[in-house]
């Protein structure tokens, strides 16, 4: 396990406190508290509908209504519109991939404006995901599910975001690709990216993560550091219904 332990008082990149979120009239998050240090990789685990996606969206301000506190790099963002929050260095890879169907693969890749300097270059990304290079001129909507997933990840790596919010990036992908993604995420971590990962695929995240938050019904119910994982696997499996 590389990286920083959960309790090292390193620079804190994200601090969420008492976050509530609503879709219309339904109250989905009931006071989420979590912290992510710089260079850390944490996961949000939980069953379907436990509110993991919503947590990511709420951090970005993409839910109907939210309250509480979300500090990014020491800055309170609760009152900011999403496009301002992102410029604090966030990158978001959404659950349904969010590829723009009418833009070509390459236009999709080039679309997000840089949020900091130091994003990866297009060539580098094409080397990382060769399928994309091949399909660069196709409309995004015509890409296969897996191609779209790769594109969605590549897209935010280009912007120079240092805090990545990734939602189910292995969803619907062939095992080879999942492995490739695993390598990619590890590489990112080594380069100092901070990652919040939402995953179903526990096998995928277990070797990568520093810490795990467990969510249930819109609340954080537990926190498991990587070191304690072995000991608590049984409990975790029960929790996730594995």
């Amino acid at each position: 396990m590389t990286g920083v332990s959960a309790f090292t008082p390193s620079h804190e990149l994200l601090r969420v406190a008492g976050l509530h979120a609503f879709y219309g009239e339904s109250h989905v998050l009931h006071g989420i508290d979590l912290q992510v240090a710089k260079g850390e990789l944490v996961t949000l685990l939980g069953r379907n509908g436990s509110g993991r996606t919503t947590t990511l969206k709420a951090i970005l301000g993409l839910v109907g209504k939210r309250s509480g506190s979300v500090m990014v790099n020491g800055r309170e963002t609760i009152g900011l519109p999403p496009h301002r929050i992102v410029h604090l260095g966030l990158g978001y890879c959404p659950e349904e991939r969010g590829i723009f169907a009418s833009l070509t693969a390459e236009e999709n890749l080039l679309l997000p404006p840089p949020v900091t300097s130091g994003g990866m270059g297009v060539d580098e990304l094409y080397r990382m995901f060769p399928n994309l290079a091949e399909r660069r001129r196709s409309p995004g909507g015509r890409l296969s599910g897996g191609e779209q997933q790769m594109l969605a990840l590549a897209r935010i790596l280009r912007t120079g975001a240092r805090l990545l919010l990734l939602d189910e990036i292995t969803e619907g992908l062939a095992p080879v690709i999942v492995q490739a993604l695993g390598r990619a995420v590890r590489a990112l971590k080594e380069r100092g990216f901070t990652v919040v990962l939402v995953e179903q695929n526990f096998r995928f995240v277990a070797p990568l993560a520093d810490r795990h938050y467990l969510l249930e019904h819109g609340r954080i119910v537990d926190e498991i550091p990587a070191a304690a994982l072995e000991a608590r696997t049984e409990q975790l499996h029960r929790f996730l219904g594995l």
Binding site: R47, N48, G49, N131, R135, S138, R142, L143, S144, G145, G146, E147, Q149, M150, E168, E171, G172, L173, A174, P175, V176, I177, V178, Q179, Q200, L240, G241, L242
Partner: protein, 249 residues
Amino acid sequence: MDDVILETRRLTKEFAGFVAVSGVDLRVRRGAIHALIGPNGAGKTTVFNLLTKFLEPTAGTIHFAGKDITRTAPAAVARMGVVRSFQISAVFPNLSVLENVRVALQRTLGTAYHFWRSPRTLQVLDDRALELLEAVDLAAFRDTIAVELPYGRKRALELATTLALDPELVLLDEPTQGMGHEDVGRVVALIRKVAARRTVLMVEHNLSVVADLCHRITVLQRGSVLAEGPYDEVSRDPRVLEAYIGGAA
């Protein structure tokens, strides 16, 4: 039982110069659970779309139960007994669970165009609809509006709706995608139950599900068939290992 229910010959689909499916010969035996796997973009969904006529093939033929269906309209293909599910869940969101299933059953009454008939004439279907809901553990939700169901239940509802048509051939596109583990188990059991009386062709990335369920596997890569055979054989094929499964599976 070497009875082929679905057969494609040289099935090909081009999109503006890009060949998504090229010369696929697929033979699905009656009563089998047949899996179509392959890396992303291999053309699996496209093959499904061709089989159900949501797309027109560029070349090649499709035969179902001995009949050439290459030029048949999508709804007609469905009426012949080829019914599909979608990669993204497909329910009628604002109908109740019962109504979802009933809409599928309704076709059997032959009154779908009868705009002058009373809704009461549909009540005869309720028993059968409940039976189907029972089979997928949804009977308790009969009056819930479908959109309010959790994801896994939606897939179950979709399956019930598919079964309502009593199809000969069921096409399932990633039936376990996006499901929690408990739901996966339920769906696998369900598919097995379903397959007892019919043929299933499914696309699936979850190899444990494939290994568990499927009698025969076709691996697609870049639009062509890479390998075909039973799971054990295919999963050891070095080409498949390289192109799809990877080292660690």
